[in-house]
Every structure is written in structure tokens, then in C-alpha cells.
């Protein structure tokens, strides 16, 4: 860590181009100190990366700056003047635009209506000026490189396209500060490149940009400064060129434990646990055929929209195959509901954590116990103490950070929520585990913990099928990898033939 360049002395002095200055920001939630006195400084025209593990305080910092939360103590200055936003609307008026991880779009409104929601373009008598709305929306969509019409309903868009609308919305007003929280999580490679170009363009025109991402490879070419948060405190601000990947990981985790690539021991046995044969849903995926053996980890990779999520949902009974068959331990199954899939021995850890993975209003222990409630039935009804004890065992095993097992799951950070979803399925008797983007939006430290867990599950003899867009993940985890493009398996790699270049080649060109 001594090799890392330190902050130039003048950076925290009074600088004329400093647009945002945060000093000693402190925020506590019941049982958790989210921010314990954080300093942060953003200048005109710079792209500043904000990094940190789950629960390090990134989201809290962003939400305070955006007016969603109020801080307990500390000071925020905008262009040198102290501010205290009581609402997101006040922050927006002051020129702060935020693009959040969770989409904040209304599905049943058009793209143009969503972009101007809350600041509608009006003509005479306060009526909405449709022509101006659509013209301006078109201009913003062109700026972010979105080809679809402004009249499209958001419900018809995929998640990558929604992200573009979200960005266009953030640009509707003249933002002085733009905060992007994991903006590329659901974007394809080409869409990401366009976003980077846009970020550079905005920075060049004088906007200060805060960029939150877990994809470290994106950071280097894009940003000038890096601030790392760890356990609610700042681990320092550094010029981007002074850091490399292993240094960043060391700063995030607080030690150099994770600097090497994750290596797993293959433990494949011979018995086929899970087979699909010519499984087809026209327009989504066709003729999908492969086998996963006991103790094996198979990764399906591909671009967004390749049909991978649809395939997993079909196996799990959320959709129904038109033809083809699914076999579990040699026995054909055709689950019509997730309930039947679970009974057959399947588990799905979904991509949409808050929509499908956990109930945010339920306490953590109730979330974990939900699929296995029958185990806790005693003569006097549900044994709640046993449920809590069961949850606490998993909480410490998975290193989930929270004040208490009775905390509502919605109060946890993204990575800890994902671990709760894992904990929920670990206690079932599932023989085949399906993961959809298991580490999306999860920080580096938690990512390796999750890899270790998946590996242990395979070592127990369970069959693991993972859908992932993260190349590093494919290489780190998969005993075998299947490349999917436009609904078809176009290539298969084993540990001898697998390489990043070959995978990219397969999923883009076939």
C-alpha cells in the first residue's frame, strides 16, 4: 500500500473549480454506522470513481448528496456554498442528477413521458406539449445512442434499453453533477462503449461525474480520480494512473488477500444430474441440449437478450417449453410452476434480486425460511426461535453483515441481500442450483466469497448451472462454458479450450 500515490496537498484546499465538497459526513442507521465521517471532493470536468465493497457506504453517500437521505452530521458544499437538501427535487434543481442501480421508470408510460416525468413540458393552460416533449426526448435518446422511438412503452424495453432511458432522463436538465451508480450492469459491450464516450463528452463540457462501478476494468480508461470507501470511512483519494487492479482490490478489501485470480479445484463426477434435450421456446431459445454432471459447474454466457434468462426461467417452471425435455437424475420433468420445480430438486437464484429474490419488508430470517417452512413446524406451530437460529447460522457462515436476523431484508446493502438469497436456497435439498448473474452489482470481496460458496456446493455433489455475462466469472468458475447467441448454444468450451477471446468470438460472431 506504500506504493500508492498519496493525495496532492492542494486537493482538499480551496479550489475554484470544486463543484462538490463533502466534509466529515456521518450517517447511522439502527445498528449500523453507514458513514463514519467521509470526505469527498469533485471538480468541474472530472470523472471520479467511487469504489468500495457492499455496505462500505457508497450508496448512502450518493443518496445523501442526492437529497434522498439526510446526514447526521457533516457538511456538503456546492460550488463553495453549504447546502442541505430536504428532497431529491431540491437536489435536482441544484443541478445534481443521479442514475440509480434500481430502475426508476414507470412501465406503462412511454419513453418520452418517463424522461419528463416530474418536469413535464407544458404549453398554454398548463397542458402537456406533446410535440416538444417528443422532440426533446428524441434529442436526448440520440445523445445516448438509443435507436428506439420515443413513443415506445418502457414495459416493452429490455433492461439495457431501460438503462439508456434512465441516462437520458438524468440528462433532461442541465446537470452540473452527474452520479452514475453501476451504469453498465445491464448494458451490452457496445452500449457500454457508447456510454463511456458520452461520459467523456459530458466531462469535457464541464460536468463533474461520480462513477460507481464494480467492474474494475472499466475504471482505468475512464476516470481521473479514484476514491475508495471501506467500512463507512474513506480509504483515500488517488489519481487513477497511480493504481492498478491489485492495488484497487487491496484498498477495497483492506488486505491483499484477493489480489490473485480465483482458482477452483474441479470435482466433476460422472453421473449426469441435469440434462436438457432440444428444449425450445420459439423466439427465445431453440434446440438447447446439454448435460451437467454431479459436482460440475457449467456456465452459460452470452450477450444480454441471447435467451439465457428465459431458458433458466423455463427450467424453473416460470415459462413453459414448447418442445424438448428436461431430465433430473435421469427422470424427465416438466415443471409447470416454481413449486413443482423446487419439489423436483431445483433452485433458482434470480437476477432480479429485489423483484424475485427477497421480500424487502420481511425480516431476514423469514426470507431465509420461506422455502423450508415445513421444517420448523412443531406442535405449537412455527418454531420462530429455531427459524432465527437457523438464519443466524447461515448469516455467520456466509458473513452477512446486519444488526439482527429480524432486520427487514430491504435495509441491507446489495451484496448482503444477494447473500440472503443464497442462504435461502442453501438450506433446501436442491440437487441442481441455477444462478442468474450471481454477482451482478456485488463488490469484489463478496464476489470471491460467493465463488467460494458455489465451489463448495459443487464439491458437495450438487450440479451448478450459472448464467453470467462477466467473462472473468466464466473463466474463474466454469468447468465448462456454453456460449449462447440468439437463442442457440453456438459453442462449448472445456477447461482446455476455454479462453476469453474464444468466448467473445463465439457470442458476438458465432
Amino acid at each position: 500500500m506504500t506504493a500508492v500515490a498519496t493525495v496532492p496537498a492542494n486537493r482538499f484546499g480551496i479550489a475554484p473549480d470544486e463543484v462538490l465538497s463533502v466534509r466529515g459526513l456521518r450517517k447511522t442507521f439502527p445498528g449500523v454506522v453507514a458513514l463514519g465521517g467521509v470526505d469527498f471532493s469533485l471538480h468541474r470536468g472530472e470523472v471520479h470513481a467511487l469504489l468500495g465493497a457492499n455496505g462500505a457506504g457508497k450508496s448512502t453517500l450518493i443518496k445523501i448528496v442526492a437529497g434522498l437521505y439526510q446526514c447526521d452530521s457533516g457538511e456538503i458544499r456546492l460550488n463553495g456554498a453549504p447546502v442541505a437538501f430536504g428532497s431529491t427535487a431540491e437536489a435536482a434543481r441544484a443541478g445534481i442528477s443521479v442514475i440509480y442501480q434500481d430502475f426508476a421508470l414507470v412501465p406503462d408510460l412511454s419513453v418520452a413521458e418517463n424522461i419528463f416525468l416530474g418536469s413535464e413540458k407544458t404549453a398554454k393552460f398548463g397542458l402537456i406539449d406533446r410535440r416538444a416533449t417528443h422532440a426533446e426526448a428524441r434529442r436526448l435518446l440520440d445523445l445516448v445512442g438509443a435507436p428506439f422511438p420515443t413513443t415506445t412503452f418502457v414495459s416493452e424495453l429490455g433492461s439495457g434499453q431501460r438503462q439508456l432511458v434512465e441516462i437520458a432522463k438524468a440528462l433532461r436538465s442541465e446537470a452540473k453533477i452527474l452520479i452514475l451508480d453501476e451504469p453498465t450492469a445491464s448494458l451490452s459491450h457496445a452500449e457500454s462503449e457508447r456510454l463511456f464516450a458520452l461520459v467523456r463528452h459530458l466531462a469535457a463540457s464541464g460536468v463533474g461525474i461520480v462513477y460507481v462501478s464494480h467492474r474494475l476494468e472499466e475504471i482505468a480508461p475512464l476516470v481521473q480520480w479514484v476514491t475508495v470507501l471501506r467500512d463507512g470511512l474513506s480509504a483515500g483519494t488517488f489519481p487513477a494512473e497511480s493504481l492498478d487492479r491489485s492495488k484497487i482490490i487491496a484498498l477495497i478489501t483492506g488486505d491483499e488477500r484477493h489480489s490473485g485470480r480465483y482458482a477452483r479445484e474441479t470435482s466433476a463426477l460422472d453421473a449426469p444430474a441435469f440434462e436438457v434435450n432440444r428444449l425450445t421456446r420459439t423466439g427465445e431459445f431453440e434446440d438447447v441440449t446439454f448435460t451437467v454432471r454431479r459436482g460440475e459447474i457449467v456456465v452459460i454466457t452470452g450477450l444480454v437478450g441471447a435467451g439465457r434468462t428465459e431458458f433458466l426461467e423455463t427450467v424453473f417452471g416460470l415459462r413453459h417449453a414448447e418442445c424438448g425435455e428436461i431430465r433430473l437424475a435421469g427422470k424427465a420433468i416438466a415443471p409447470r410452476t416454481p413449486r413443482e420445480a423446487i419439489a423436483a430438486g431445483l433452485a433458482l437464484i434470480p437476477e432480479d434480486r429485489r423483484g424475485q429474490g427477497i421480500s424487502v419488508v420481511m425480516p431476514v430470517y423469514e426470507n431465509i425460511a420461506l422455502p423450508i417452512l415445513h421444517r420448523f413446524v412443531s406442535r405449537f406451530g412455527l418454531a420462530i426461535r429455531q427459524e432465527i437460529a437457523h438464519a443466524e447460522g447461515l448469516i455467520s457462515r456466509l458473513n452477512i453483515r446486519m444488526p439482527d436476523a429480524r432486520t427487514p431484508a430491504g435495509a441491507l446493502s446489495g451484496g448482503n441481500q444477494q447473500k440472503v438469497v443464497l442462504a435461502k436456497w442453501l438450506s433446501t435439498d436442491a440437487t441442481v442450483l441455477l444462478f442468474d448473474e450471481p454477482t451482478q452489482g456485488v463488490d469484489v470481496a463478496a464476489k470471491y466469497e460467493i465463488y467460494g460458496l458455489i465451489d463448495r456446493l459443487a464439491a458437495q455433489g450438487r450440479a451448478i448451472l450459472i448464467v453470467s455475462s462477466d467473462l472473468e466469472e466464466v473463466l474463474a468458475l466454469g468447468d465448462r462454458a456454453l456460449a449462447m447467441r440468439a437463442g442457440r448454444i453456438v459453442a462449448e468450451f472445456d477447461s482446455l479450450t476455454i479462453s476469453a477471446n474464444r468466448i467473445v468470438e463465439a457470442i458476438t460472431h458465432g
Partner: protein
């Protein structure tokens, strides 16, 4: 390690924990009792308090059933019509066949309506609001058709006494309807807090998609919810008819339904589902019935009472929103 040490005395902390949602309506109830005791000499008498409890019993039963529907994010608008149907079916059967077949047929008629609601909502996936609104009309109409639009009088002699015993009799010092309400409330609490299906109701109210993905049989759970709501409404209808010892086709046509929903909301159960419970509902029922009783004693007109009850519903929803916002 803090987590571990807390678990060792989890039972104690569990039983001592006060639901923060009950503080608002609890304080309102206490304040109200204090004001009425001072304002009216007739309020704090054994006679009056007993009266209030007897009167609150049917509402408590209805609102307890309604709590199930609200907890899953639904609603049961057909409760009032079920009360009317049970009333005329019970009385009609009693004239020819006596009390026992009448009780069975009467209550069964309400249970069947609940199960139909449940199938339409759980299996055919129609919105609870629409299903129970339609049922509100259909069953109200059916009650009028069955009775020919007029009150069913002339119930046979020994049977009618037993009938009245259910609606207004006593076991020792305890009013029968209150005993029945207390038993049903206890059963409802146990089901919601201590059984898998109860937990499934909260899970559906919290996030239905998560419940589906976790293997909860959502359709069956919804059928169960409306079966409970219909059954509780049927029992309330039976007790109310016993009190008036006749079959009244308009018995549940008044503001009974709205009081039932109102009491659940005043108690603090979220109309979006997932949060709440029957003890909150008990508190809501007590607030509503004591409020009405006190205003009656103070000779304030029923018209004014309606204004006040409505204001309290909005006020309590506002208090809940404040509490949630401050978290």
C-alpha cells in the same frame, strides 16, 4: 458476535417487544376513554362497557377476517352481503327445520361465497377488488330474492331462544358473542403468526413474485384467505341475526363492511399487504366501537359520528405513513 448474544435471550426480547404501530391507536383509545369518562356519567358503568363489548363482537369477527385479505394486499368487499345472506338463509331454514340445520345451512352459505371468491381470485387470477365488488352485488341481490325482499319473522319457539343465546346470551358473566369473537381472534392469531400458511399470506403481501419463486402455492393460499374471510363474515352474520331474532335481507347492507375495513386500517395493517396483524385489528375495532358508543352517550347525531369516524381513518393512515417515513 453481537448477533449471537442477542439470540440467547431471543424469547424474552420477542415477548417484550412492543409493536410500534399500536402506540398511535392505543394512545387514541386511552385518551378517548378518559375524555368520555369525564364527559358522561353513563360511560364508565359495567352496563355500558358490557354493551360495547357485545356490540363490538360481530365487528371484531368481520374485521379479523378482513385482516387476512388486507395482509395479502387484497380486500373483501363481499362481507356485508354475506352477513345478509346468512341472516335470511338461517331464518328461512329454521322455520321448517329448526336451529341446528339452520345454523349449518346459514353459515355454509357464507362459507361457499368465500370459497367462490377465493377460486376466482386464486385460480382465475381476477383482481380481489373486482371479484368481491361483483360478489357484493350478487349476494346482496340473492339475499333479497331468497327473502322476497322482506324480513323473515315467526321463528319457531324453542329454536329462537337458542338463536338469541348466540347473539345476546351469557355464559356466566361473559357475553356469548364476545366469547366466540375471542376464540376466533385467538385462532386467527395462531394461524397468521404460527403456521406456514399464515407466513405465506405475509409473503404474498410483501412480494408476490418472491413467494412464487420460493415455491409458495399462491393460488391455494388466496383461496384459503377468502375462505377465512367468508367464514368469519358468515359467523358474524349468524350472531347478528340471533340478536335481532329474524332474517334481515339488509342486515349487512349498512356501513358494517366499511367499518370492518376501517377498523383494520385504524389498527395499522397496511392496505398494501405484508405488514399488520389481528391484534392491531382488535385495537382498531375498540377505537371504532368506543368512539361510536361515547358519541351516542353524548347525544351527538349519527350524521356527525360518520364525519368523525371517517376523519379518524384518514388520521390513522397518516400516522402510519409518518412512522414509516421516519424509519
Amino acid at each position: 458476535m453481537a448477533v449471537i448474544s442477542k439470540s440467547s435471550d431471543s424469547r424474552r426480547s420477542w415477548s417484550l417487544r412492543i409493536d410500534p404501530a399500536v402506540v398511535g391507536p392505543g394512545l387514541a383509545l386511552i385518551l378517548m376513554l378518559a375524555v368520555y369518562s369525564v364527559a358522561s356519567p353513563h360511560f364508565l358503568t359495567v352496563q355500558n362497557i358490557t354493551n360495547v363489548f357485545v356490540q363490538s363482537a360481530p365487528l371484531l369477527i368481520l374485521a379479523t377476517g378482513q385482516t387476512f385479505a388486507l395482509l395479502m394486499g387484497g380486500l373483501d368487499l363481499s362481507q356485508g352481503s354475506i352477513v345478509s345472506l346468512v341472516s335470511v338463509v338461517t331464518a328461512g331454514v329454521m322455520i321448517n327445520y329448526g336451529i341446528a340445520p339452520a345454523a349449518v345451512a346459514g353459515i355454509a352459505s357464507g362459507v361457499v361465497v368465500g370459497i367462490i371468491n377465493g377460486f376466482l381470485i386464486g385460480r382465475f387470477r381476477i383482481q380481489p377488488f373486482i371479484v368481491t365488488l361483483g360478489m357484493l352485488y350478487m349476494i346482496a341481490g340473492a339475499a333479497l330474492v331468497i327473502s322476497g325482499g322482506s324480513t323473515v319473522f315467526g321463528l319457531p319457539r324453542p329454536d329462537v331462544d337458542i338463536f338469541f343465546w348466540f347473539g345476546g346470551g351469557f355464559i356466566g358473566p361473559l357475553p356469548v358473542p364476545l366469547v366466540i369473537a375471542a376464540i376466533l381472534l385467538t385462532v386467527a392469531y395462531f394461524v397468521l403468526a404460527r403456521t406456514p400458511i399464515g407466513r405465506h399470506i405475509y409473503a404474498i403481501g410483501g412480494n408476490e413474485q418472491v413467494a412464487v419463486m420460493s415455491g409458495v402455492d399462491v393460488g391455494r393460499t388466496k383461496i384459503f384467505i377468502y375462505f377465512v374471510s367468508g367464514t368469519f363474515a358468515a359467523i358474524a352474520g349468524f350472531l347478528l341475526s340471533g340478536r335481532v331474532i329474524s332474517g334481515q335481507p339488509l342486515l349487512g347492507a349498512g356501513d358494517l363492511l366499511l367499518q370492518s375495513i376501517g377498523a383494520v386500517i385504524i389498527g395499522g395493517t397496511s392496505i398494501f399487504g405484508g405488514r399488520g396483524g389481528v391484534f392491531r385489528t382488535l385495537l382498531g375495532v375498540l377505537v371504532v366501537t368506543f368512539m361510536v358508543n361515547g358519541l351516542n352517550l353524548l347525544a351527538i347525531s349519527t350524521f356527525t359520528q360518520q364525519v368523525i369516524v371517517g376523519a379518524i381513518i384518514i388520521l390513522s393512515a397518516w400516522l402510519n405513513a409518518l412512522r414509516r417515513g421516519s424509519r
